[in-house]
């Protein structure tokens, strides 16, 4: 059975992402930060997702695979996901700005699918 659930994704700014921009966007700090999805620990437990396990996010406009990690304490309520702005979050945005010039870049409806863990070689 595929483990799948709908969430609201909030892309946003983080200190590490900001520092990573100055260090260089192809450097490890920036790349690590934009490829990390934060989830409420309670959601991870319910969906049996281990820290660092890859999940697939699908929006109306695209899909990405990303490693999930638990948010600290109660930083995120159940049903909400967070990712730092970057390539992955942009892939989930649509091109339409609804006449505002601004694509809907926060509060994106996504479906989260838990990807099977790869067997150890």
């Amino acid at each position: 059975m595929v483990n799948m659930e709908t969430f609201i994704l909030i892309p946003g700014r983080t200190s590490n992402q900001g520092c990573g921009i100055s260090e260089g966007k192809f450097g490890p700090t920036y790349q690590a930060e934009i490829h990390r999805l934060l989830m409420a620990p309670v959601d991870m437990q319910r969906l049996e997702i281990a820290s660092g396990q890859r999940v697939r996010l699908r929006s109306e406009h695209g899909q990405v695979d990303v490693a999930a990690e638990p948010a600290k304490g109660d930083e995120l309520p159940s049903g909400l996901l967070f990712i730092a702005y970057g390539d992955l979050s942009s892939r989930l945005m649509g091109g339409d700005t609804h006449g505002s010039g601004m694509p809907t870049s926060k509060g994106i409806d996504v479906t989260l699918e838990v990807l099977p863990t790869l067997p150890l070689v």
Partner: protein, 463 residues
């Protein structure tokens, strides 16, 4: 040295990469120099009290800088990269300017975009280029506080400088904004901690309220934290507007819609009314979420409502170091802050039509000039796909996904670290830059002036 060509200063790099040995002699010394009151241009706080310790071409310490400022100053050394790449191959800067001018001068619907991480002097020239080539000029404002810019035009802005906030603000509200991560010195330099002229107790004299959909790093600083439902900012702001007008509300409906009990909103409103000088700082939690300019408009109207009871102001927390300058410069030059089309020989403003994200996602632009920004990382996939399919020119001190795919990519000196000029703090106060050391790379201003000169000729010849 009198320069007659960019390459007198910045020679071709194909067989002569930029290395420390090719730098001007006077700048290779290792003697420690202190640059006092340098200006950090990483974020919109534009802190101008940083003492930089400089050895040769490296900043080794940035005193008083925050984590973001320290990373900014310590990671902008001279990189060993060509000053210009044409189709990915090293080229002379003069050849790059010629190719850039040909691309832009012969385009039918060119786009100029970015501008928020360069000096006002460069921004001014970029608008001139857009005027000559009859294109759209848009800034990163359109994908940060562009919706707020639309709301300002709709309902106005009751505002103040950060100095007034520091000296008077006794109720500080952050809405959809996380300054602890995006503007780390905001609390200590301007909004919460300072002992102000009318707030001798500093933090003790202020109340801090944070409204957000999640518990950010900033919430630790709050006296009151209101966690609202995602995408319900509009409803929450209109709840407060209704309370400010003394209207009766259905408690169940308010809690169902906003996620916060009516009694909590009532308590907040009473505190807001009792404040002597209230301030609402708002972030992209409002502008990037469903509702966008309607969210910002609701917040601006709430601020206006509160002035029936006390003094209340609001201010967007701006992200990039000179994004506020971009708004100012584009406004001086065209009458509008962003999303401007100059194709008919006079400026037309229309977010949604002339904004970069739309012009690209709809596949309209046939060439682009990208200055100090990275749409290939931050734009939607349709917009990125189209940008990758057209010839464009990119100026950036660092290698980015945007510079990697540019037809012409210039490596430029970093503003504030190598280049002097003016930037605007998020409260529209102009601040001078005090650079730390020279760069072998040309500045944005030099490149843009070169393109402008050449584009003028191309356009005149075409006519």
């Amino acid at each position: 040295m009198q320069r007659t060509s960019f390459d007198d200063y910045c020679p071709p790099r194909s067989s002569d990469p930029v290395t420390m040995t090719t730098l001007p002699e006077a700048t290779t010394d290792n003697e420690l120099r202190i640059i006092e009151d340098a200006t950090c241009t990483f974020c919109g706080c534009v802190c101008d009290d940083i003492d930089l310790h400089v050895k040769g071409h490296q900043i080794v310490k940035a005193q008083r800088a925050c984590v973001l400022g320290t990373a900014w100053f310590l990671n902008h050394e001279i990189e060993d990269r060509p000053a210009c790449l044409i189709d990915g191959q090293p080229a002379t800067v003069d050849a790059g300017i010629e190719r850039a001018a040909q691309i832009l001068g012969n385009a039918r619907y060119p786009l100029t975009y970015g501008l928020s991480d360069t000096t006002t002097e460069s921004q001014r020239i970029a608008v001139s280029i857009s005027d000559w080539i009859g294109g759209c000029v848009d800034t990163t404002t359109s994908v940060c506080h562009g919706p707020s810019g639309m709301a300002f035009q709709g309902v106005g802005e009751v505002t103040a400088s950060l100095g007034e906030v520091r000296n008077r603000g006794d109720m500080i509200i952050f809405w959809g904004s996380n300054p602890a991560e995006s503007h780390p010195r905001h609390f200590t330099k301007y909004s919460l901690m300072p002992k102000g002229m009318f707030l001798p107790g500093g933090r003790k004299d202020r109340t801090c309220v944070i409204v957000d959909v999640r518990k950010t790093k900033s919430t630790k600083a709050a006296d009151i934290f209101l966690q609202i439902k995602p995408r319900k900012d509009f409803e929450a702001l209109w709840t407060l507007r209704a309370l400010a007008r003394g209207l009766e509300l259905d408690a169940q409906k308010v809690e169902d819609e906003t996620g916060v009990p009516l009694s909590v909103w009532q308590d907040l409103m009473e505190r807001m009314k009792k404040a002597r000088f209230g301030v609402i700082f708002f972030g992209m939690g409002l502008t990037m979420t469903r509702g966008k300019h309607a969210n910002s408009e609701a917040l601006l109207l709430l601020t206006r409502d509160m002035n029936r009871y006390t003094r209340f102001v609001c201010k967007p927390n701006r992200g990039h170091g000179n994004v506020t300058g971009a708004d100012n410069v584009v406004s001086w030059r065209t009458g509008y802050p962003f999303a401007v089309n100059l194709g008919r020989g006079f400026p037309r403003f229309n977010p949604g039509e002339y904004t970069a994200s739309d012009v690209l996602a709809r596949g309209e632009a046939d060439a682009a000039l990208i200055i100090a920004s990275d749409p290939m990382a931050n734009f939607s996939q349709p917009a990125r796909d189209h940008l990758a399919s057209i010839p464009y020119v990119a100026l950036d001190p660092k290698e980015t996904p945007t510079t990697r795919q540019a037809a012409v990519a210039f490596t430029v000196a970093t503003y504030g670290i190598n280049v002097p000029g003016t930037v605007y703090r998020m409260d529209d106060v102009p601040i001078p830059l005090r650079p730390a050391f020279d760069s072998p790379f040309p500045s944005d201003l030099e490149i843009l002036k070169g393109i402008e000169r050449r584009v003028r000729t191309i356009v005149r010849e075409r006519v």
